[in-house]
């Protein structure tokens, strides 16, 4: 940190990470104090002789005690915005900033900016949103701590310029997210999702390590730029590239490696689903791109491979989503197909040197983060509103045979939800329509740019793939639309009629994201300061 310029970028990473112990300790302190005075709300109490007594008030509405950990977390993330703005200014004024410790390089460039914005933006909103959503569960302070840690680690990951350092950021992010996915660990389904997530991530991370070893053995360096300069075509580096792609691809949910995703997205608390889908998966893709870019000189086929996975993801995600009955599972599979669009765009950009491709792919990464974040948060709001009924009255109200089991939000549960929850329903439909690629919403614009890139190659095969992608976009309407339709049914479901009100802290993030979707859709130039440098950096790093 010799120069002054990267100071902002440094604090951008440091603030969330430094604040995590504080958040945790403050949260623990509050829990202990509450336990001492018997004000633990729905939480477990520990009496003097160590007997664990579980408060039975969990069914009744909790008195809204201010949650210290949550407010501290929110403050930490809010404080992070200051260095973010500073770093953005630096980036625009002076170009990419390089900093780091000794031999480990960090680099704050357009791509870092994009991922940092996604992580910080969605993280802040999720933090705001999570207040009531996770209350009543044990260990909320751990939830907030890990959420902030995850945001910090992802920003760090975005800046990593050293391949092993990239891995450790990545692993840190993964460790932080295991508990978050299985946060409702009193439910077997949540545990199941978390287990799958952990085992598959860990297997993938080993593949990455093997690849790092191969790269180190053959190039003698871990710095991404130096690797790029020394790497030439050897079979060993080809293997390294494949291992990288598959290793990070687990988290990036490339199709045969995706199997953890629907479970994790569906079972995690909704805020975490939003983070997973909007940022964590994207961090995986950024990691693939960053590290593969270092091997750009090894073979020209990285771009084609990305296109291939993109097409596979699009088709598979769409077909899988078509028959889903659970809202969050449907959204999870739609994430798969949107990853496909991102990969397609980036792949076209890399393979054919199309700036529109990388920019379109990254643009879609941004819009997808906003739209899917909104969709999951809206689903979370519905879950919050209807959840008490799942547990108590669902059997009575809906005659569902699986009333006793863990309670997924079914599409049919949302019948007529627009009457009881007009704002949430409206924002959810906006998100879904945007995901379906209907103008004038954000999703259309980013998809369009990817398609432009495909046609600009003037290659009939790529053109055909683009048409195939567009075809799938049409197909996706066949599952988004019934959901939208369900929201506006005229005869509301019994569940909806008895749902409880949604607090303002939940509605606020929904509203903000919805406005963003419309704004980007009407005026895509709004985010070009962000997309253009990111796409340029990515293309340049692949030597395009």
């Amino acid at each position: 940190m010799n120069e002054l310029t990267p100071l902002a970028a440094f604090w951008l990473i440091a603030i969330p990470l430094i604040s995590t112990p504080l958040i945790y300790l403050a949260g623990r302190l509050q829990v202990s104090l509450a336990a001492g005075t018997g004000m633990g709300g729905g939480r477990k109490l520990v009496t003097a002789n160590g007997q664990v007594v579980v408060a039975t008030t969990s069914a009744t509405p909790r008195t809204p005690a201010p949650d210290v950990a949550r407010w501290l977390g929110l403050m930490a993330l809010a404080a992070t915005w200051a260095p973010f703005i500073g770093a953005t200014r630096d980036l625009i004024a002076n170009g990419p900033a390089k900093f780091g410790l000794e031999s480990i390089a960090l680099r704050f460039d357009g791509l870092s900016l994009l991922l940092a914005l996604l992580a910080l933006g969605l993280g802040t909103l999720v933090m705001l949103f999570s207040g009531q959503g996770v209350s009543g569960a044990a260990g909320t302070e751990k939830y907030y701590t890990l959420l902030v840690a995850m945001v910090g680690l992802m920003i760090g990951l975005a800046c990593a310029g050293d391949i092993f350092n990239l891995w450790i950021w990545f692993e840190g992010m993964a460790v932080a997210s295991y508990l978050l996915v299985g946060f409702h660990h009193e439910e077997p389904a949540a545990l199941e999702a978390s287990v799958k997530y952990l085992v598959q991530s860990a297997a993938g991370s080993v593949l990455v390590l093997l690849s790092i070893a191969l790269i180190l053995a053959q190039t003698g360096t871990l710095n991404l730029e130096e690797i790029r300069n020394t790497a030439h075509t050897t079979p060993g580096l080809l293997a390294a590239g494949a291992l990288l792609m598959m290793g990070f691809g687990v988290k990036g949910a490339l199709v045969p490696l995706h199997t953890w995703l629907p479970d994790a997205h569906a079972q995690a608390p909704s805020g975490i689903s939003a983070m997973l889908s909007g940022v964590v998966v994207m961090a995986g893709i950024i990691a693939i791109l960053r590290s593969l870019a270092a091997l750009a000189g090894v073979t020209p086929s990285w771009g084609s491979l990305l296109i291939g996975f993109g097409v596979l993801n699009i088709a598979f995600g769409n077909l899988m989503a078509l028959r889903q009955t659970q809202v969050k599972r449907l959204l999870a599979y739609s994430t798969l197909s949107h990853i496909g669009y991102i990969l397609l765009g980036v792949g076209i950009g890399v393979a054919y040197g199309q700036p529109a491709g990388t920019q379109g792919g990254l643009f879609h990464m941004l819009t997808h983060g906003v739209m899917k974040g909104l969709a999951f948060l809206a689903a979370g709001a519905f879950l919050y509103g209807l959840q008490p009924l799942f547990e108590s009255d669902r059997g009575k109200l809906t005659q569902r045979s699986d009333a006793a089991h863990a309670s997924p939000l079914l599409i049919s549960d949302l019948a007529g939800a627009a009457q009881r929850y007009p704002l949430v329903a409206f924002t959810l439909s906006l998100a879904l329509l945007g995901l379906g690629g209907l103008p004038p919403l954000a999703g259309f614009m980013s998809k369009w740019q990817i398609f432009v890139a495909g046609f600009a190659t003037q290659n009939p095969v790529v053109g055909g793939l683009v048409i195939f992608a567009a075809l799938n976009s049409v197909l996706s309407l066949a599952y988004y639309m019934p959901l939208v339709n369900m929201l506006y049914r005229q005869a509301p479901s019994k569940l909806v009629e008895h749902g409880r009100a949604i607090p303002l802290t939940m509605l606020l993030p929904l509203g903000l994201l919805a406005v963003t979707i419309v704004a980007i859709g009407i005026w895509p130039g709004l985010v070009y300061w962000l997309i253009e440098p990111a796409g340029r950096v990515l293309l340049a790093s692949f030597g395009g």
């Binding site: 477990k44 520990v46 044990a138 840690a149 450790i168 050897t234």
Partner: protein, 214 residues
């Protein structure tokens, strides 16, 4: 020559760890793998890591496994997996062959192209050159600890307790029944709970579960 023997030993231990039907035995074979690996690492010149591998890999991790097995109990494992064995074998070997084809053998053209041995000593490399890794690792450890605390913490009692597990029809033991060693180690809020280290459960896993129910 000795390295060939060592690698063979490592692989044998690893295979045994996978073939073992009892968890504890598998954990011990893993420790064996670790120990042999430590020797191999030492031979490759990685003296410090060899020590760490011996203490953490063969020591701490094994303790953790034994501990976890103690809590969770041995479980009679189904000998045959969910996948057809030929498929699993094929899927394990196929990438291996391809990888081997691509990266073996190490020869002087692809590798070692004029690298000079680094002059810095190990602690310098670890703490200064790779200092950022260590910092991030601290965050990682912190996150891991918080995650473990969270996972092992008790949850509020609710309607979900004591319900029938959908998969097995087994009655799920409630939280209070299963309070045990690890919980006490990792969950500070119940630290002064009377401990009952289930050492004897290892021998009789089924009995342990039975006890847990009571």
């Amino acid at each position: 020559m000795s390295s060939i023997l060592l690698v063979a030993g490592i692989l044998v231990c690893a295979v045994q760890a996978i073939r073992a039907t009892r968890l504890l035995v598998a954990a011990l074979w893993l420790a064996g793998t670790s120990g042999l690996l430590a020797i191999l690492l030492y031979m490759l010149g990685a003296h410090e890591v060899a020590v760490v591998e011996l203490s953490v890999g063969a020591g701490l991790v094994t303790v953790l496994f034994v501990f976890a097995i103690g809590i969770a109990g041995e479980e009679a494992m189904d000998a045959h997996g969910l996948l057809p064995t030929p498929l699993a074998t094929g899927l394990a070997i196929l990438p291996l062959l391809l990888l081997g084809w691509l990266i073996l053998p190490v020869n002087s053209t692809g590798y070692l192209a004029g690298f000079t041995a680094g002059t810095a000593d190990f602690s310098n490399v670890l703490w200064q050159q790779r200092g950022l890794d260590v910092l991030v690792q601290i965050v990682l450890i912190f996150a891991g600890v918080v995650a473990v605390l969270g996972l092992l913490a008790e949850v509020p009692a609710g309607a979900r307790e004591d319900k029938v597990s959908p998969a097995e029809g087994v009655r799920v033991p409630s939280n209070k029944d299963l309070l045990s060693g690890t919980t006490i180690l990792f969950a500070p809020e119940i630290r002064n709970q009377q401990a009952e280290i289930p050492g004897d459960h290892i021998a009789e896993p089924e009995q342990a579960v039975e006890e847990a129910h009571r």
